[in-house]
């Protein structure tokens, strides 16, 4: 579906853009075909292969990154649209030689098997915990007018955008629960 002669079209200046955006705290500038997603820009142009391509259609969550602090699916965002904005990938959640509390909890709770979905799970959980701290409700929140307590049901609902085909879900829930409780 994505192949075909269209992909061999010569890209002129009309169909490409110079994009400047911040990635993990550093300003990056690249010239990209307008069709390039944030995910492909990160992986193919900026050597940041943490964010993963699973479905490439916004369904699996393995490409999740933080855009201006919010979790989003980088496979459905054209890089040209994030000019001037800030992206954080799994590589930016902690320094190169350290683990964020969330990453440490994932290891402590054995919250992965193959690990392919893990960068997306981590970025999603990071964004989700910030949403909870801002008092955002979810579909399983009983009273919309109070801040929800982060029960396991809340964690599961809020993490529904991230699939794990190894089904490490119970351990992911435990890791997120522990991180929330200790922060």
């Amino acid at each position: 579906m994505q192949g075909g002669p269209e992909n061999t079209t010569t890209i002129d200046e009309r169909h490409s853009s110079r994009v400047t955006f911040e990635v993990n705290g550093a300003s990056r500038e690249v010239t990209l075909d307008n069709r390039t997603t944030v995910l492909d820009a990160l992986r193919e142009h900026l050597d940041l292969t943490g964010a993963k391509k699973g479905c490439d259609h916004g369904q699996c969550g393995s490409c999740t990154v933080l855009l201006d602090g919010r979790r989003v699916k980088s496979c459905l965002i054209f890089a040209v649209t994030v000019d001037g904005r800030s992206v954080v990938t799994v590589e930016g959640l902690a320094g190169p030689d350290e683990l964020s509390p969330l990453q440490a909890a994932f290891i402590a709770h054995d919250a992965f098997q193959c690990g392919y979905c893990t960068p997306g799970q981590l970025c999603s959980a990071r964004g989700m915990l910030d949403e909870v701290s801002q008092g955002w409700p979810s579909a399983v929140t009983d009273d919309l007018n109070t801040s929800a307590e982060l029960t396991d049901a809340e964690i599961r609902e809020r993490m529904a955008g991230n699939l794990c085909r190894c089904a490490a879900y119970p351990h992911i829930v435990a890791a997120v629960r522990e991180t929330a409780a200790s922060s």
Binding site: Q2, D56, G58, G61
Partner: protein, 327 residues
């Protein structure tokens, strides 16, 4: 994917002018539907007009007690808005029942209303689809049509509208504010969406190139007692097998006012006027709610695989209204 030019307009008038000048241009909002359809080859714009940086991202309380929601307000921000949570819970619930946390952070109010059907034949360029390719036929009519329409479909198209937000907005008598080439215009949501008829490629009554700039909720104190009930094939992150937006206003046990709209049953969010009429002025009971749903669904024509939507829609009508009556 077809190569495209990218344009970031300075204001609404410029955005609308680009669409008027470029026959294959499309507006880009959150991209959660359009980018996917571009990857699938279903939509092939040669210019994208990125409207997400236009100043349409505010939620404003109106002097009459209503609410104006800018077209680029993200679904997550709208669901978390304190006035929406307090005064229009049906709207917050509909938003929270849709998609995933990441997608709600991306999807815009205007884009949500204009998203395309998830009919698998529409999404597959190898299949006949009158909506995608007018005149090519409808592979869904006698195909796998479990997810498709039971009301108001035509021989040309049996697609359903996928939005949860639009169902809540239909129940609330929302006004859609659009900007067309000749200026701004208000359209009641009941007149915004089309039946498929012989032109399923036309989904709304506005001209191509019209930009939604806002939606306006009228004041509706009764909406404080409202909810959105959605049934899916899994617990979360799925489109509706059936859904109902409900507002209930009781005087004692008598139904003073009621608003009902259904999702996943038709080409448009389905305002259930007949059910409302069957309920209004009568003492509420679950049995009355069931009869009201039956009145609404009397003219339904289920397809081969989706007859279950009738008892399902009936059941969620009863459940939603009964919960509201006892709340």
């Amino acid at each position: 994917m077809k190569a495209f030019r990218y344009h970031r307009p300075a204001n609404v008038a410029e955005a609308v002018a680009v669409l008027a000048a470029e026959p294959q241009a499309a507006y880009l909002g959150g991209g959660t539907n359009l980018v996917d359809l571009m990857k699938l080859g279903v939509q092939r714009p040669d210019v994208l007009v990125d409207v997400t940086r236009l100043p349409l991202d505010t939620v404003e309380e109106l002097p009459d007690g209503g609410l104006r929601i800018g077209a680029t307000v993200r679904n997550s921000d709208l669901a978390a808005h304190p006035v929406v949570r307090r005064a229009y819970p049906v709207l917050a619930r509909a938003l929270l029942a849709a998609a995933s946390g990441q997608l709600r952070n991306m999807a815009t109010t205007g884009g949500n209303l204009l998203q395309r059907t998830r009919c698998v034949y529409f999404q597959d360029t190898g299949k006949a689809c009158n909506k995608r390719e007018p005149g090519s036929g409808c592979a869904a009519l006698h195909g796998q049509n479990r997810d498709l329409a039971v009301l108001d479909w035509s021989e040309q198209c049996v697609a359903t509208h996928p939005s949860d937000l639009a169902v809540a907005l239909a129940a609330l008598d929302t006004v859609v504010e659009v900007h067309e080439a000749d200026g701004p215009r208000d359209i009641p949501i009941a007149e915004f969406y089309r039946s498929p008829g012989t032109h399923p490629e036309r989904e709304t009554t506005v001209a191509r190139g019209a930009l939604i700039t806002a939606v306006r909720l009228p004041p509706l104190p009764a909406a404080r007692r409202s909810t959105y009930l959605k049934v899916r094939d899994r617990a979360s992150f799925a489109f509706a097998a059936g859904s109902v937006a409900a507002v209930l206003d009781l005087d004692g046990d008598v139904v003073r006012d009621v608003r009902l709209a259904y999702g996943a049953v038709a080409h448009r969010p389905w305002r259930a006027y007949r059910a409302e009429e069957a309920l209004r002025g009568r003492p509420f009971s679950p049995e009355l709610a069931a009869r009201a749903a039956d009145a609404e669904l009397a003219e339904a024509r289920p397809l081969r695989h989706n007859g279950f939507k009738l008892p399902l829609t009936r059941a969620i009508t009863v459940r939603a209204l009964t919960e509201l009556a006892s709340s």
